[in-house]
């Protein structure tokens, strides 16, 4: 196998990609998703934790209180978030419909130490961003009241949980696991999946457009052609993944160990690309190859995700900076898989070219 032949094939594929300007679409797509994901983050953060939208946080919401007095009333009066009006239930709900109130609470005359629970009825508006915020703020009030009632009834409890004193939260943080535990591994791994779909296209195209004969008649051998295409796809992975990391960082997401992340992605992606190459060599027809490959991909990825310390998990840990020495063990395992697949690809390609020559 000659390195020059490999690079010739790889260059040919790149020229094809550039002349069709399809690579432009890939770049556009990345930009699109990057912009889009930061839109999502704003949307998600505000949904998870509405108080993070500062414009809503200084608001005092009007709440109607109907029914009987309870320990909750004083908590409500003390709360900086609410302005409480005692009123008749029907009037309150009518005012709620006209958006003059944010919520109406009805409290029954159940005694705090009664056998039965206290059942509060809460009327809120449907389909409204603010009512989601009001719900979150009312939840705090209800939780306080619940703790209060639990205290009163504590003698009736037969076991108490361990006590943990957690400092009151500073806000934010909900969104961390979504970004580092889902978005980053997904985005960084996407180039690997694209590259493995691309190798199928590149190989089946030669078969289905009958250009293989011309290519094999050159000094380039069949297996060199296959490896050249693998090389072309492989080179794309760290480039695309690197662009992702840069785009995410521009969006204000700090990513640690970027270099190591690229190393892991590049090597794991080689396994997927070789898997794609094998499928394509076997079927020589795009529909069948893509079908089998995508199903196999789902199986492989699902299996990998079910194993502890899988490559995706490693990306998460590397990005947040909690990866330890176990990453090298994983890397060695992945490299062993790559070696096996590479050997299989080489043997298979040799076999095909032997059949071609004899036939």
């Amino acid at each position: 196998m000659k390195a020059r032949h490999l690079s010739i094939i790889a260059k040919k594929e790149f020229r094809g990609l550039f002349s069709e300007r399809t690579i432009l679409l890939a770049v556009l797509l990345q930009l699109f998703i990057a912009l889009f994901s930061s839109f999502l983050m704003v949307g998600l953060t505000s949904m998870y934790d509405p108080s993070s939208l500062s414009q809503y946080s200084h608001f005092r919401y009007n709440v109607g209180y109907a029914g009987n007095d309870s320990g909750m009333l004083s908590t409500l009066y003390d709360s900086p978030d609410f302005r409480v009006f005692k009123m008749d239930l029907s009037t309150g709900v009518a005012a709620l419909k006209e958006r003059k109130l944010a919520a109406v609470i009805w409290v029954p005359d159940t005694a705090p130490d009664a056998d039965e629970p206290v059942k509060i009825t809460l009327y809120t508006l449907q389909n409204d961003l603010q009512s989601a915020i009001v719900d979150v703020k009312l939840k705090d009030i209800f939780l306080k009241y619940e703790a209060n009632l639990r205290e009163i009834r504590s003698e009736r409890l037969d076991a108490l949980p361990l006590l943990l004193k957690i400092p009151s939260s500073t806000g934010g943080g909900d969104f961390f696991e979504f970004v580092y535990g889902l978005l980053i591994p997904l985005l960084v791994f996407m180039p690997a999946i694209i590259a493995s779909a691309l190798i199928i296209d590149l190989i089946t195209e030669e078969y289905q457009h009958d250009t293989l004969e011309t290519l094999v008649s050159t000094p380039v051998t069949f297996s060199e052609m296959v490896w050249g295409k693998v090389l072309a796809c492989e080179v794309l992975v760290p480039v695309q993944a690197g662009v992702w990391l840069i785009l995410l960082m521009i969006n204000g997401i700090a990513i640690q160990n970027a270099g190591l992340i690229l190393l892991h992605v590049t090597i794991s992606s080689l396994a997927l690309i070789l898997l794609g190459a094998l499928t394509a060599l076997h079927y020589r027809e795009r529909t069948a190859a893509q079908f089998i490959f995508s199903t196999a991909l789902v199986v492989v990825i699902l299996l990998a995700l079910s194993l502890p310390s899988n490559p995706m998990n490693l990306l998460t840990r590397l990005a947040v900076g909690t990866a330890g020495a176990e990453q090298w063990i994983v890397l060695v395992i992945v490299m062993a898989v790559v070696a096996v697949l590479g050997y299989a690809t080489q043997r298979y390609a040799e076999r095909i070219s032997r059949i071609n020559h004899s036939g």
Binding site: T22, S90, K97, D158, E177, D201, Q290
Partner: protein
């Protein structure tokens, strides 16, 4: 090759039946062909992979998805606390003695000493604290669920009643906050009639055991996988609206993400095969046989599409039954399926190579998925979320009712664009288009050229620009999303520029196509007529669509603005006319090279107009 037994009888009364029979024949042929492609080699392996998939799914359901393992480091001194945290793989728990912990507290995100939690620095530590809070709440829940006296552990229950406000869309549109602090002191007084609300009963309508069961299941739900799949196990439990305070939280958008992907991914997958089937006809001119049969092209396309459509429908139905949702959710999915198929058809007809097919289809599906997906985040929040049909699915799964107008509102863009795309594809499904090797842009232009009539160019232009409106709306919606996160003045400027540019491209493309087909066509007289037809078509389409979509928000107010004030329509008409005229003149003067400068000039003119009215409106 298989021969096609065709019902090719003529005669108007038999035409309809004949077309149906043709479609059926082609569909059968398509199925047969797909199965012969999936030859003896594919099927056994596919079966093996499917079995493997089931096995692996079972395995991962048991072991959980280990993607967020070991994100946080926690140091504890109490084995009981370590035991409590061991269930959550996100924590790496180190059990050490108290002095060591205090000394090395910087190495941990959380340090728990004597029951006191010390939170470290940085966003990772804050996130760790959030996770700990949830785990702790779960743990406390599991202790309380075991209590003999359940109502001592859970003394407070809340019954949530959703009230629909009559004012919702308009008031949020005009920037009015819900229940803004009243200007005067004292309780707010409703202006309308007060309906009597029955006093709620003070007792729960369900038994203690049922409540305990619900608490146990809702507490157990928070496992590794259910963090992602909560939505699927239809979250509305039998308890209806009764909740403890800690169960009271706003609906999480994660639900929508899962639903969207569960439904969109199979659609995307299947449309890939449709694309490929179209592409296969074009490789080595294989489709010539199909084209040579005496069947209308629309029948060929519909016939080829039918198996895929039915397949997608079957998948969606199966999914619906699997997650136990109401069959109503199929309804909003149908236009989405058509939209995917229409695009797959065009992409399959346009792409020159497999690579191009892959990239274009990935690009399309990402854009389409985000268009479908982003509004559903706000499903519980705002009416605007209805621009995506998938919001109707989210609503159905929650048990919220929607009306026929809701349906029309959220699906009309999808129906319209699919129909237009199918029409373009049907007109171009012939030899010289399918087997040409030209570039993507040239081919797109040729496709358009095919639907512009030579005999009635102005009517065609009118229709073309009118029907481009749904596409313009869709693209402009995407831009809105894209620029959402830029800082304020930039986002507005970018949006203004791009919105104008998109409109100008939509208007200019028809005239450009005509010019490219026959430069001599563009005499000064024809030029003015062409611009007029385009401008009127655009205006009519714009107003019509605005009316259809906004009518559901408030027919009275918007309707009157749009239709009673016809007198002020000449201003936008003039704008459209002038802008197209700029593009057309540039084309006439400098040829094809003048198109882009013309667009830029028209965009500037459009922006100046917009700015004038925006600023005038502001002051």
């Amino acid at each position: 090759m298989t021969t096609l037994p065709l019902a090719g009888e003529s005669g108007p009364e038999k035409l309809c039946m004949g077309a149906l029979a043709d479609i059926w024949t082609i569909a059968k042929w398509e199925v047969k062909k797909s199965f012969s492609l999936m030859n003896r080699d594919v099927l056994p392996l596919a079966v093996v992979l499917f079995v493997l998939l089931v096995v692996v799914t079972g395995f991962s359901a048991q072991s959980g998805l280990h993607i967020q393992d070991g994100m946080y480091r926690v140091g504890v001194d109490d084995p009981a606390v370590a035991q409590m945290l061991a269930g959550d793989a996100r924590f790496m728990v180190y059990q050490l003695d108290t002095p060591t912990l205090i000394e090395n507290r910087d190495a941990f995100d959380l340090v728990i000493v004597n029951g006191f939690v010390n939170v470290g620095e940085g966003s990772r530590a804050v996130a760790a604290q959030k996770t700990l809070e949830r785990d702790y709440a779960k743990y406390v829940g599991s202790v309380f669920n075991e209590q003999e006296d359940l109502f001592a552990a859970y003394p407070l229950w809340i019954d949530t009643q959703g009230i629909t406000s009559e004012l919702d869309f308009m008031s949020t549109q005009s920037g009015q906050y819900v229940s803004a602090a009243p200007p005067r002191p004292g309780a707010p007084v409703p202006e309308g009639t007060i309906e009597q609300i029955a006093t709620p009963s003070s007792s729960l309508s369900v038994t203690e055991d049922e409540l305990r069961e619900q608490l146990v299941t809702s507490n157990a739900k928070n496992t590794q996988i259910s963090r992602y799949t909560d939505a699927l196990s239809s979250s509305s439990s039998t308890m209806g609206t009764f909740k403890t305070p800690s169960q009271l939280s706003p609906p999480l958008p994660f639900d929508s993400i899962i639903i969207v992907f569960v439904f969109i991914f199979p659609l995307y997958f299947t449309s890939q095969f449709f694309m490929m089937s179209i592409m296969n006809e074009r490789i080595e001119r294989r489709g010539e046989i199909l084209l040579s049969v005496p069947v209308k092209t629309s029948s060929i396309i519909l016939g080829k599409m039918l198996p895929f459509f039915l397949g997608m429908l079957a998948i969606c139905t199966a999914l619906t039954f699997w997650i136990g949702a109401s069959p109503l959710i199929i309804l909003p999915l149908i236009p989405v399926i058509f939209f995917f198929l229409a695009n797959a058809l065009l992409i399959g007809m346009l792409a020159r190579s497999f690579k191009e097919l892959s990239f274009v289809s990935i690009f399309f599906s990402t854009v389409a998925t985000s268009y479908l997906f982003f509004p559903t985040i706000f499903a519980n929040v705002h009416v605007i979320s209805l621009i995506s049909p998938l919001t109707l699915i989210v609503l159905t799964m929650q048990g919220t009712a929607w009306t026929v107008t809701d349906y029309l509102y959220s699906t009309s863009l999808f129906w319209l664009t699919s129909i237009v795309l199918f029409y373009i594809a049907a007109r171009n499904f012939k030899e010289e288009r399918l087997f040409s090797e030209k570039g993507l842009v040239t081919r797109m232009r040729e496709f358009l050229s095919e639907i512009l009539s030579k005999k009635r160019p102005f009517l065609s232009l009118f229709l073309l620009s009118g029907f481009s409106i749904p596409f313009v709306f869709m693209v402009q919606m995407m831009c809105l999303v894209l620029f959402f996160n830029l800082p304020m003045p930039f986002s507005l400027i970018c949006l203004l520029l791009l919105a104008a540019l998109i409109e100008e491209i939509a208007k200019g493309v028809g005239i450009y196509t005509l010019y490219a087909r026959d430069p001599a066509f563009l005499t000064w007289k024809n030029l003015v007529f062409a611009c007029g037809a385009t401008a009127i078509g655009f205006l009519v389409g714009e107003k019509l669509l605005l009316f259809v979509t906004l009518a559901q928000i408030s027919d009275s107010i918007f309707g009157s603005i749009l239709f009673l004030s016809l007198g002020s329509l000449w201003l936008p008409l003039l704008l459209h006319f002038v802008c197209v005229l700029i593009v057309a003149c540039c084309l006439k003067k400098w040829g094809k090279a003048g198109f882009v400068p013309g667009l830029v000039l028209a965009m500037i003119a459009h922006c100046v107009y917009n700015l004038y009215f925006l600023l005038g409106w502001l002051t």
